[in-house]
Amino acid sequence: MIRVQDLRKSFGDIRAVNGVSFSVGEGEVFGLLGPNGAGKTTTISILATLRPADSGQAFVCGHDVFREPEAVRRRIGVVPQELAIYEELTAEQNLDVFGRLYGLSGAGLKNRIAELLDLSELTEHARRPVKGFSGGMKRRLNIMIGLVHTPDVLFLDEPTVGIDAQARSKILDLIRGMNRQGLTVLYTTHYLEEAEQLCDRIAVIDHGRLAAIGDREELITQIGEQDTVRLQVLESLRERLVTNAGSWDGVAEADVRRGKVQIQCRDGAAVVARLQQWLDSEGQHLEQLEVIRPNLETLYLKITGRALRE
């Protein structure tokens, strides 16, 4: 649904997007993860036909973004970072305005508005001016406006900024629901846990460049990040275990740290099974064991060299 090839965009001396390439399949939720100023919003702006690129190629739903902007606009929905809604109008009127701009009218538009209000649990508030809504309600309406014309691809630019955990959870559920119905989503965020929960694949973007791309496992492989198995055994066994574990398949390193044996390995579960066998053969048992899998925070730190919220 989306194909981007060597996209570049500069503002003066600043290279906002610097040779970005990726593709998003139909029905996929694709996350663009990066800190503020990394180039996420600029990338979305280019794909949404709002900004021209300096060079590169971009296709959305098979249409060239630069040569067929009108066709692209009809197939995409955009949910900007800001609450892009008319606060003086009601929820229903907001949906009505944008529906009409996309050529909807009559019963079709009315039904679509009712459907979206229901989906976002705003039906009861449909005829209230938006300025009286809570932050979460406004965010939900903001997303619904992007969907009013039933787009094939939805660009969501940090849609959960500034709302509480409960409202955020509702929005993520909403996006999952829409995705289940076949909607392709390009989702930018700097919340790691959101990207981890929601996205099928993630591209980490920093300083305008894609640092890594793939699903969680692929990212781990790309970066070489490993599971850590940490266990406590009798002191007399520690050195023998370290020596033995070092020769097991998939183990990169084993040593003793702060009184515990620590094994760096590709597959933590396999090592735990092998470990159990070894302890049985020694007539010993585990006192304490933990398997630490690398999360996105760890990955992100490794990729960019800094924490996301810095």
């Binding site: 900007p80 003086e88 009409r100 701009l101 001016p129």
Partner: protein, 443 residues
């Protein structure tokens, strides 16, 4: 698309209490303040300073005093008797607003029942005061019209009996009932016959007096400086309601601020993110600008409608000679004002900067364009600058219709200029929009 964009802005306007107050309530207040200050409820006029007036003519003392007293005691004129050359110079220099030319042999003409024509030179620059001079003089001259002349000509003062002389007519009507009076007339006594004859003559004079009033012989002929007559159709009846003269300038000035606020909505849409959302929708490249322009125009028309309606109902504002002309002028003025600030919105960068520059620009244009002071009272150099401002032409078009009661023939020029200004500002806004890189630049 334009209809959707305009409807959207109208809905937003209607839902925003502050915007409705600015558009509808403030014009009402403005017209009320202006009306009470200058028009008075029901269209009464304010007290005016005595208007300097030159009077030219070789008039015998009694009539000269009569004219002088009539002009002075009216409280409206400060007459200066002078010769025609001096009068012309005074009118030309603006020292007097008009010169009244009293005809030669005035007394003989009046007593002989000949037509009497007073001439009037008006200062064409000071249209307002010169028109007022004409209106008031026309009324004052009614006193001099045939009625008074015929009355004094036919009823010399010595005709009336002195207070202590016996009056035959009074004797004839003495008594308690009409029957008694009738019997006395029927007697045929010489006293009764004499009294009856005398009364018949009195009746004849009353009829002559009435005829003289209804068929005036004293007229006012308005001329230009060359002496050529300015006919009534060339000089339409101007309004005598000061409200009509003040409303256009103040109304346009007020609307300029409202138009600036309307154009600044582009920044509010940008900040709120809705501009981005509109630009992602399948709109034409300039639909957004045109939508803002059309909304501004409708907003302006609404404001003018409130102003005119309140002016008409409360202060008997003049709506011009033709019912369709004022709406046409309102449309042209609104179209011009709606486009006036769009180029600034393309240049300013943010709402705060636009507010600062726009306010300065509006005050300057208001000053030189005749919104604060009537153009006739402005120094010539300021007026020459003012003619390049669009609000000058908006003021002129509205004043022509409302205050001067002119028709399309006169108003066509300012109307055309307003349309040209609208197109020019809109064109500049489009060029600047493109120059900034279109949508990308505005975002």
């Amino acid at each position: 698309m334009l209809r959707i964009l305009v409807t959207k802005d109208l809905r937003r306007w209607w839902s925003d209490r502050n915007a409705v107050i600015v558009t509808l309530v403030l014009p009402l207040l403005l017209s009320a303040v202006l009306g009470v200050s200058f028009g008075g409820f029901g269209g009464g006029g304010p007290s005016l300073e005595a208007i300097p007036l030159a009077v030219v003519g070789n008039v015998p003392a009694p009539f000269r005093d009569l004219i002088d007293n009539a002009l002075t005691e009216s409280g409206l004129f400060k007459p200066t008797w002078t010769d025609s050359v001096t009068a012309d110079r005074l009118v030309s220099s603006g020292e007097v607003r008009a010169a009244l030319l009293v005809p030669d042999n005035l007394t003989a003409k009046i007593l002989g029942g000949d037509d009497v024509v007073f001439g009037l030179w008006k200062d064409p620059v000071s249209v307002l005061q010169a028109d007022i001079v004409e209106q008031i003089l026309s009324r004052l001259l009614l006193y001099l019209r045939g009625g008074e002349a015929a009355y004094y000509g036919a009823w010399p003062e010595d005709w009336f009996p002195a207070d202590d002389e016996p009056s035959a007519i009074a004797d004839l009507f003495e008594g308690d009932s009409m029957l008694e009076v009738w019997r006395r007339i029927s007697d045929g006594s010489p006293e009764a016959v004499s009294a009856w004859d005398q009364m018949s003559v009195l009746m004849d004079h009353q009829v002559a007096l009435s005829d003289a009033y209804s068929d005036p012989v004293v007229n006012l002929l308005v001329t230009d400086r060359s002496g050529a007559e300015v006919k009534a159709d060339q000089a339409p009846q101007a309004s005598r309601n000061m409200f009509d003269y003040v409303l256009p300038g103040m109304g346009v000035f007020f609307m300029m601020f409202a138009a600036m606020n309307s154009a600044a909505d582009i920044f509010r849409e940008r900040l709120g993110g809705t501009l981005l959302r509109l630009f992602v929708a399948p709109l034409g490249p300039y639909d957004f600008l045109l939508g803002k322009w059309m909304f501004g125009m409708i907003n302006g028309l609404l404001q003018l409608s409130v102003l005119f309606l309140a002016g008409k109902v409360l202060f008997r504002m003049n709506l011009g000679p033709e019912p369709w002309l004022l709406p046409l002028v309102a449309l042209a003025v609104s179209a011009m004002l709606a486009s006036l600030y769009l180029p600034l919105a393309m240049l300013a960068g943010n709402e705060k900067r636009m507010g600062a520059i726009g306010t300065g620009l509006t005050l300057f244009m208001g000053m030189v364009g005749g919104n604060f002071i009537q153009p006739e009272a402005m120094p010539p150099f300021l007026l020459s600058i003012g003619r390049f401002t669009p609000n000058y032409w908006a003021n002129t078009a509205m004043t022509d219709v409302i205050a001067r009661n002119h028709g399309l023939e006169t108003v066509a020029t300012p109307l055309l200029i307003l349309v040209l200004f609208s197109l020019a500002f809109l064109g500049i806004a489009v060029i600047l929009f493109r120059g900034r890189g279109g949508k990308e630049g505005l975002l």
